[in-house]
Symmetry: C2
């Protein structure tokens, strides 16, 4: 079952919902397609299963943001965590991205409630830092939008990154450069100290 979900995640990421056929999934999972229907009912329900598997990931990373930590440390850790997920779970990122692209018909509740609540909570932490004079007065919610955008682009639009860089795959060097660039933009953008050498 977990195996089927993993195969489905990859296929939905690569081919989209309509582009993924139950036949293709069955072949990739190594069993007849009737079994998929036996386990999950409809293709729609299987897709929902894949999505739900992903949502927890998105909320978890934000744990790095806590009031006691110095902002530079917390933001650096957050960026690192997001980028690690981008690297280890690129298919999850792509499925989520495709769902958003098409208006998120399955994620309306998640976005408007769970995610919104969590962002507002963490934005309050950032406003606390600003009020204490620990960082520049940046809009915390837009800051989140932009950190998500920058980190996820290395999964979602990986093919563009590879083509422009002229490499066959994104390895340690590329992710190190990405992390350095994003961390620099965010820390300096927030008026925080950032130093070249610091990993």
């Amino acid at each position: 079952m977990a195996h089927i979900l993993a195969v489905a995640e990859q296929s939905f990421a690569e081919a989209g919902f309509s582009g993924t056929t139950m036949e293709r999934l069955a072949q990739a999972a190594g069993l007849p397609k009737a079994n998929l229907h036996y386990y999950f009912g409809t293709k729609e329900q299987l897709y929902r299963g894949v999505l739900e598997n992903i949502l927890a990931l998105w909320l978890d990373d934000m744990n790095a943001i806590t009031p006691e930590r110095p902002p530079a440390e917390a933001l650096t850790a957050y960026i690192r965590a997001k980028l690690a997920h981008t690297r280890t779970r690129p298919h999850a990122s792509k499925v989520f991205a495709a769902e958003l692209l098409h208006g998120a018909p399955h994620l309306r509740r998640f976005l408007s409630f769970e995610l919104r609540r969590r962002v507002i909570e963490k934005a309050r932490v950032i406003r606390g830092w600003i009020d204490r004079g620990l960082m520049a007065p940046i809009d915390p919610i837009h800051l989140f939008f932009n950190i998500w955008a920058m980190t996820q682009t290395y999964a979602d639009f990986e093919v563009q990154v590879r083509a422009v860089l002229g490499v066959n795959r994104l390895g340690d060097a590329e992710f190190a450069a990405a992390e350095k660039t994003i961390t620099r933009l965010v820390l300096k953008g927030c008026g925080l100290h950032w130093q070249e050498g610091k990993p």
Copy 2:
């Protein structure tokens, strides 16, 4: 014909390639579906027509980056141009994003040649600024990846932005906040002067 392409762009953006039916396009365009096939041949060829319409947009914005301009001014103008396209052509952005998400089978050449060449050319301009001590030594190519990510997220993942902000549509206020945040991150991140009030 241009009308059909506009309708198709919107439908491909909202429903994806497989999710878009010729019947649906015909209805939206107000003519029988046989005509679509008469004009464009196959659905595939129609999709290629939509994509090609979009590519020029992407390359054009980079004209803002020229060696003579001060970096802060050029980067501010570039961000503004990208964000303006995000706002006026959200469907184009989404079609392009979906194509990248699914591995860009139709854009391989464009990405590896036209786009890559243009990015390398403009990266050289930025390195010139760095060498002249006009800005901090940031990786120019990753800088582009991240500017694209930040500006396009307001089209591609608009539904997420709206849900988290709790608004029904992205208007002047939201785009102003986006532009301010992105410009701040980029300029300060590049060690350039940025001032709150400056639009």
